[in-house]
C-alpha cells in the first residue's frame, strides 16, 4: 500500500472546492465507524443488509458474494474476524444465521463483536426467543430495531431498556391497528364454528 500521491485537490482562489480525489486510507475517517451490517444464512441467503457507507448496488452484490464465500467456509474455532480489502469484518454465528459487521482496520474488534451480540439480545427480547424465521418474515422490524441501535454507523444507544422502550412506543400504534383485526378474527372464528 504505497501512496505517492495522497490526494488531489482543486480549490478556487476563493476557497471553493472544485474537485477532490482521495487515495490515502485516512479518507476513511470521513466515513462511518461501521460500514455495513450483513445477515446471511448458512445457505448464503441474505436476511438483512444495511449500508452505512456508500456502495452501489453492484458493489453490494459483490461484497455479499465475496464475504459469504469466506465467512461460511470458516471453521468454528477460528477468529471471529477477517481482514478483507483493508477493512475488518467481524462476524458471529447464531444458530444458522451469520451476523457480520464491517469496520475499519484500526477499530476494536471485540467491541464490535459485542455490539452484534447486543443487537441479537435486543432482537431476542423483542421477538421472544428469536429465530431465523422471525427475521425472515419480519425483516422490516429488524431494521427498525437496528435503526434504534446504530445510527449513521455509530452505536447510538447501549441500553437495551431504552431501545425496547422506544420500539414498543412505536409498536403501540401497530397494536392499535391489530386489535381491530383480532376482533374481526374472533367474529369470523365464531361464525365458522
Amino acid at each position: 500500500m504505497y501512496f505517492q500521491i495522497h490526494f488531489v485537490l482543486l480549490v478556487s482562489r476563493q476557497g471553493k472546492v472544485r474537485l477532490t480525489k482521495w487515495y490515502s486510507p485516512y479518507t476513511q475517517k470521513e466515513r462511518s465507524k461501521i460500514h455495513f451490517v450483513l445477515l446471511v444464512s448458512r445457505q448464503g441467503k441474505v436476511r438483512l443488509t444495511k449500508w452505512y457507507s456508500p456502495y452501489t448496488q453492484k458493489e453490494r452484490s459483490k461484497v455479499i458474494r465475496e464475504l459469504s464465500g469466506v465467512i461460511l467456509n470458516r471453521g468454528p474455532k477460528l477468529c471471529n474476524f477477517i481482514e478483507w480489502r483493508g477493512y475488518k469484518v467481524v462476524y458471529k454465528r447464531y444458530a444458522s444465521l451469520y451476523f457480520c459487521m464491517c469496520i475499519d482496520e484500526a477499530d476494536n474488534e471485540l467491541e464490535v463483536l459485542e455490539i452484534i451480540h447486543h443487537y441479537v439480545e435486543i432482537l431476542d427480547r423483542y421477538f421472544g426467543s428469536v429465530c431465523e424465521l422471525d427475521l425472515i418474515f419480519n425483516f422490516h422490524k429488524a431494521y427498525y430495531i437496528l435503526d434504534e441501535l446504530l445510527i449513521a454507523g455509530e452505536l447510538q444507544e447501549s441500553s437495551k431498556k431504552t431501545v425496547a422502550r422506544i420500539i414498543s412506543a412505536q409498536d403501540q400504534l401497530v397494536e392499535a391497528a391489530k386489535e381491530e383485526a383480532s376482533s374481526i378474527s374472533n367474529i369470523i372464528a365464531q361464525a365458522t364454528k
Binding site: G15, K29, L48, N108, S129, H140, K160, T192
Partner: protein, 938 residues
C-alpha cells in the same frame, strides 16, 4: 367457508404478533427461502418485480396495501435487485399523516436512496414538517432519515430545527439530534463549526444515553484538534470513574459490566488526549489502573475493555506500573484458547512493542504458535507483528516466512501488501546481496504483477550500481549471482511480466560480462523469452534490447558474431511488427549488426547503464543549422514569454505566468473572498502523516513504508537506514549492537547481537526443561526470531552474562514462562451445563422466566450454551466443538428432534405456537432448509 377460514387464520396471525402480511408476500418469502440456487431466486424476484410494477400502476391503491408493496420493494432491494421503479411511492408514503405508514416510508427511503439521489429534494420538505411535529416518534423518524439522507446542500434547510431539538424534553430526540449534528459535521465541517459548543454542553446531559451519544462527535472533533479539548481530560476521566463505580442506571449494564460501550468510547478519547502529553496522561493513571483491576476477563466485553485499555496505554505516556498491567493483560490474551483473544493479544503486543521492545520475548512461543495457526486471520496479524519487530538480526527468518506465506495465498489484496512489506524489509535490513536477490526473485516470481514497478527499477539499479561500496569485485559477484539465478528461473513457465523485464535487462547488461556464459547461450535464452511471451510487447522490447546489447558487446570486443537462426527469425518477425516500438528496436538491432567494432563501442559501451547521460537542453548542437536558416532569411524564434510580453494589450497576459491556468475556473460571483473560508482545522485534517492522532497512529506502517519507498527509489538499497527506523530512544539500547550495517561482501554474515540474544536465552532454557514435548523446530524458530542470528547458543550464553547483566530484570524468571498449562477457570462451565450455572451469567434467563422443566435435558441447555459458549472467551475448545456438533445433529430435521425443539424455548407454549404457525405457513420442516426453524437464541 374454506376461504373464510384462511382469512380468519391470517387475521389471527396478525393479532398474534406474527407475520401480519398478505398471503402473496408470505408466499414470496417462502419461495425465496426454498429456492435451491441463486438463479432460481433471481427468477422469482424478477417475476415479483413484474407483479409489483403492474400493481403499483393500479389506481387508488389502499394505504395498507401500499405499505405492503413498499416492504416488498425493500425485500427485493435487499436481495440485490433494482427496485428504483417504486422509489417514488416510498417517498410519497413519507408524506402520510399516519405514523405507521410514515415510518415504513422513511425506512424504505433510507434503505433505497443515498444522499445524492434526485428524490431527496422531495423529502426535505416532509422532514422539515416532521421535525416540528408534536409527536416525538415522528420527530425521531425524521431524525433517523436525516442521518442517512441529508447532504451538504440540504444541511442548511434542516440545521436550525435540529439545533432546537437538542433541548427537546425527550432524551430519545436529543440523542438523535446529536447524532444528526455529528453526521452534518462529517459531511461538511464548516456548516456546523459554530455549533460545536453544543456537543460540550450535551456531555453534561442528565440522560446517560445522550451523554454516550455525544462521545461519538467529540471523538471526531478531538481527532481533528486535540489541543482545544485538553480541558476536558479531567471530565472524561471522572465520567469513566463514575461509570466504573456503577453510578449509571442498571439498564446500561451489559453482561454485568457497567456501560461497557461508553467505557470503550471514553478510553478511545482519552488515548487521543493523552498522546504525547505527560500531564494529561498522569490524570488517567488512576482510572486506568482501576480498570485493569476491575475488568472481568472471563467475559468478552470485559476483554474488549481490557484491550481498549492496552490501546490507550500504548498511545499515552504510560507509567511503568500501567505498562506492566498491560503486559499482564496481553499475556492472558495470548495464553487463552480463544482465537479471538489470541488475535487481540498479538495486536496488543504489536502496539506495546513500540514502547517496550522486550515484551515480545516472553511470548515467543505463543507468537510462533499463532504464526503456525491454520487460521489465516491470526496468521496475518502475527505477520504484522513480526513486521514491526524486524531488525537486521532476524530479518532473514521473518522475510523467509513472509515470502513462503505470500506464495501460498491467493488473495491478491493481501498478497500485494505482504509483497511490498517483504521488499521493504529486504531493502532495509538485507544481510547480503545474494540473499537480497533471492528474496527479490521470490517476490517477483510469485507476486510480480502486484508489486510496484518502482521496485523492479530499484532492483535493476541495485544490480547495476552495487551496494554502494567501491568494491568492483563484490559488484561483479552480485551480478554473476543474479545472472545465474535468473538463468535458472527462466525455465519456469508463466513468469510475471515485470520479472521478465528485469531478467531480460540484467541478462542483456551482464549476461556475458564474466565470460562464464557464451553470447549464443544467453541470446538463445532471450529469444526463448521473446518467443514464449509473444503477446507481451514490453517483455519482447526488453528482450530485443538485451539481444542488441549482447551482440554489441560481442562486436565491440572483436569477436565474430553468429546470429542464431531463431534470433534471425525473431528479428525478421519484429521488422514487420504492428508495434512501432518493437519494429524500431528490430531495425536498430539489424543496423547495429552491420556496424564495425569502433562504432558499436561508442553506441553501446560496456556496463554504462549507471553513467549519467548529459542532456543538452539548449540543443546547442543545432546552433549552426539555425544560423544557416536565419542567414537564408528565416524568422528568429521568439519564446512564449517574450511573445506574451509583446502582445500586452489585455491585462490577461500581464499576470504572473503560472497563474494563468486558474483563469479557467474563475467566476465573478466570488469576487470578495473570506480569508478564512477554509477553516484551519480542515487544513490540518488533510495532513497525512505527522498528525498525532488515533488514525495516523494506526496507519503508521503504511506511511513509513511509503516514505522508505520514496527514499529508496532515489538512493538505492538502504542498509544504512537501519538506524533511522529503529533509532528511537527506546530501541537504541537493545539494537545498538546489531544496528551496524552488515558488510556487503560476505554472503553469510553473522551478527553479534548480544542484547537480544541474552534475554531470550533464559526463558528458552526453561522451556526445554519444563516442556520437553515442544518441537525443537519451533524453538529454533523462536531463537532466530527473538534472539540473534546464527551464532551458537553457548557463545551467546557466555557473552550475554558479560554484556547485559541488567537484562535479568526485564526477562521473566523461568517459573513464569508463558505456556498455559491450564486455562483460567471459566464462569460458565460448559462441560456440565447445569441450569444454575447458566442462570448466573445469563441476563436473558431472568427476563424470559425460568426454564421449562423440559429444558433440563442435555440438548436444550446445549442450545442455550451455543450462544454463550461463543461469547465466553476462555472456554475449552473441545466443549465448544461438541456443542456445535450436537447442535447440527439436532438440526437434521427428523421428527424426533423436531419435537424436542419445541421444548427448547424458554416458553414452550410460545414455541408451540410458533411451530403451529410455521406449519400453517405450509413450510415443510423436512425440506432442504431445516435450519430455518432453529431458534437463534435457544
Amino acid at each position: 367457508m374454506e376461504q373464510l377460514k384462511t382469512i380468519g387464520r391470517e387475521l389471527a396471525m396478525g393479532s398474534q404478533g406474527g407475520f401480519g402480511q398478505s398471503k402473496e408476500f408470505l408466499d414470496l418469502v417462502k419461495s425465496i427461502g426454498e429456492a435451491r440456487s441463486k438463479a432460481e431466486e433471481d427468477r422469482i424476484v424478477l417475476s415479483e418485480i413484474d407483479i409489483l410494477k403492474r400493481k403499483l400502476l393500479e389506481p387508488d391503491i389502499p394505504k395498507r396495501k401500499m405499505k405492503e408493496y413498499i416492504i416488498r420493494l425493500v425485500y427485493i432491494e435487499m436481495l440485490g435487485h433494482d427496485a428504483s421503479f417504486g422509489y417514488i411511492h416510498a417517498v410519497k408514503m413519507t408524506h402520510d399523516d399516519n405514523l405507521l405508514l410514515k415510518r415504513t416510508g422513511y425506512l424504505a427511503v433510507t434503505l433505497f436512496l443515498n444522499e445524492d439521489h434526485d428524490l431527496i429534494i422531495l423529502i426535505v420538505n416532509t422532514i422539515q414538517k416532521d421535525l416540528r411535529s408534536d409527536n416525538y416518534l415522528v420527530v425521531c423518524a425524521a431524525l433517523n432519515a436525516i442521518c442517512r439522507l441529508i447532504n451538504e446542500e440540504t444541511i442548511p434547510a434542516v440545521l436550525p430545527q435540529v439545533v432546537d431539538l437538542l433541548n427537546h424534553q425527550k432524551e430519545a430526540v436529543r440523542k438523535k439530534a446529536i447524532m444528526a449534528l455529528h453526521r452534518f459535521h462529517r459531511k461538511s465541517p464548516s456548516s456546523v463549526s459554530h455549533l460545536i459548543s453544543n456537543f460540550r454542553k450535551r456531555l453534561c446531559d442528565n440522560d446517560p444515553g445522550v451523554m454516550g451519544a455525544t462521545l461519538c462527535p467529540l471523538f471526531d472533533l478531538i481527532t481533528e484538534d486535540v489541543s482545544s479539548y485538553k480541558d476536558l481530560v479531567s471530565s472524561f476521566v471522572s465520567i469513566l470513574k463514575q461509570v466504573t463505580e456503577r453510578r449509571l442506571p442498571k439498564s446500561y449494564d451489559y453482561h454485568q459490566m457497567p456501560a461497557p460501550f461508553i467505557q470503550i468510547k471514553l478510553l478511545k478519547i482519552m488515548a487521543l488526549l493523552g498522546c504525547g502529553d505527560k500531564s494529561a496522561s498522569e490524570i488517567m493513571y488512576m482510572v486506568l489502573g482501576d480498570l485493569f483491576r476491575k475488568c472481568d476477563s472471563s467475559t468478552n466485553i470485559g476483554n474488549a475493555i481490557l484491550y481498549e485499555c492496552i490501546r490507550c496505554i500504548s498511545c499515552i505516556i504510560p507509567s511503568p506500573k500501567l505498562l506492566e498491567a498491560a503486559a499482564d493483560a496481553i499475556s492472558k490474551f495470548l495464553k487463552s484458547d480463544s482465537h479471538n483473544l489470541k488475535y487481540m493479544g498479538i495486536d496488543g503486543l504489536g502496539r506495546l512493542i513500540k514502547i517496550s521492545p522486550d515484551i515480545a520475548e516472553q511470548h515467543q512461543l505463543a507468537v510462533i504458535d499463532c504464526l503456525e495457526d491454520p487460521d489465516d486471520t491470526l496468521k496475518r496479524k502475527t505477520f504484522e507483528l513480526l513486521y514491526k519487530m524486524t531488525k537486521s538480526s532476524n530479518v532473514e527468518v521473518i522475510v523467509d516466512r513472509m515470502t513462503d506465506y505470500m506464495i501460498s495465498i491467493n488473495d491478491n489484496h493481501y498478497k500485494t501488501e505482504i509483497a511490498s512489506r517483504c521488499v521493504e524489509l529486504a531493502e532495509q535490513f538485507a544481510p547480503s546481496n545474494q540473499w537480497f536477490i533471492q528474496i527479490m526473485n521470490k517476490v517477483f516470481e510469485h507476486a510480480g504483477d502486484l508489486v510496484n514497478i518502482k521496485v523492479a527499477h530499484n532492483l535493476m539499479r541495485l544490480i547495476a550500481e552495487g551496494f554502494g561500496e567501491d568494491d568492483d569485485d563484490a559488484d561483479s559477484k552480485l551480478r554473476l549471482s543474479a545472472v545465474e539465478s535468473y538463468l535458472q528461473i527462466m525455465s519456469e513457465p508463466k513468469l510475471p511480466s515485470l520479472f521478465l523485464q528485469v531478467i531480460s535487462w540484467v541478462l542483456g547488461e551482464y549476461g556475458t560480462a564474466d565470460g562464464k556464459y557464451s553470447a549464443s547461450y544467453i541470446s538463445g535464452k532471450l529469444c526463448d523469452v521473446a518467443d514464449a511471451y509473444s503477446s507481451d510487447e514490453t517483455v519482447k522490447g526488453y528482450a530485443v534490447s538485451a539481444l542488441m546489447k549482447i551482440y554489441a558487446f560481442e562486436i565491440a570486443s572483436g569477436r565474430k558474431v553468429d546470429v542464431l537462426p531463431e534470433c534471425q527469425s525473431l528479428i525478421e518477425e519484429l521488422l514487420a511488427s504492428h508495434s512501432t516500438d518493437l519494429q524500431q528496436r528490430a531495425y536498430e538491432l539489424q543496423a547495429l549488426l552491420a556496424l564495425d567494432a569502433r562504432a558499436v563501442e561508442s553506441i553501446l559501451p560496456l556496463d554504462a547503464s549507471c553513467e549519467d547521460i548529459e542532456v543538452d537542453k539548449d540543443l546547442s548542437f543545432l546552433n549552426g543549422y539555425i544560423q544557416q536558416a536565419i542567414e537564408s532569411g528565416a524568422q528568429p524564434y521568439i519564446s512564449e514569454r517574450e511573445r506574451s510580453c509583446m502582445l500586452e494589450t489585455t491585462d490577461y497576459h500581464s499576470r504572473d505566468h503560472h497563474e494563468v491556468p486558474s483563469h479557467a475556473l474563475r467566476f465573478e460571483a466570488y469576487e470578495r473572498p473570506k480569508p478564512s473560508s477554509l477553516p484551519t482545522q480542515a487544513s490540518t485534517e488533510l495532513v497525512p502523516v505527522p498528525e498525532p492522532s488515533y488514525y495516523s497512529e494506526a496507519h503508521q506502517p503504511i506511511s513509513t513504508s511509503s516514505v522508505s519507498e520514496r527514499e529508496s527509489s532515489e538512493i538505492k538499497l538502504r542498509l544504512d537506514g537501519v538506524k533511522q527506523k529503529w533509532g528511537r530512544p527506546s530501541y537504541q539500547s537493545s539494537t545498538s549492537a546489531s544496528s551496524t550495517p552488515p558488510q556487503a561482501a560476505n554472503g553469510t554474515s553473522s551478527h553479534p547481537d548480544v542484547g537480544v540474544g541474552s534475554s531470550s536465552l533464559k526463558p528458552r532454557s526453561s522451556y526445554e526443561s519444563k516442556k520437553p514435548e515442544i518441537d525443537p523446530e519451533k524453538q529454533r524458530l523462536a531463537a532466530s526470531l527473538f534472539g540473534g542470528s546464527s551464532s551458537s547458543r553457548s557463545d551467546r550464553k557466555s557473552s550475554s552474562g558479560g554484556h547485559k547483566p541488567a537484562k535479568g530484570t526485564a526477562s521473566k524468571p523461568p517459573k513464569e514462562n508463558p505456556i498455559p498449562v491450564q486455562p483460567p477457570p471459566d464462569l460458565l462451565d460448559f462441560g456440565e451445563p447445569t441450569a444454575t450455572s447458566v442462570t448466573a451469567t445469563d441476563p436473558f434467563k431472568e427476563l424470559e422466566g425460568l426454564m421449562d422443566s423440559l429444558s433440563q435435558d442435555g440438548g436444550s441447555t446445549d442450545v442455550m450454551g451455543v450462544l454463550y459458549s461463543d461469547a465466553a472467551p476462555v472456554t475449552t475448545t473441545t466443549s465448544v466443538d461438541s456443542l456445535l456438533s450436537e447442535l447440527s445433529d439436532s438440526s437434521k430435521g427428523n421428527p424426533g428432534t423436531y419435537q424436542s425443539q419445541t421444548s427448547k424455548g424458554p416458553n414452550s407454549k410460545e414455541a408451540l405456537e410458533k411451530d403451529a404457525l410455521v406449519r400453517q405457513m405450509g413450510v415443510n420442516p423436512t425440506s432442504q432448509n431445516p435450519t430455518l426453524f432453529k431458534d437463534l437464541l435457544g
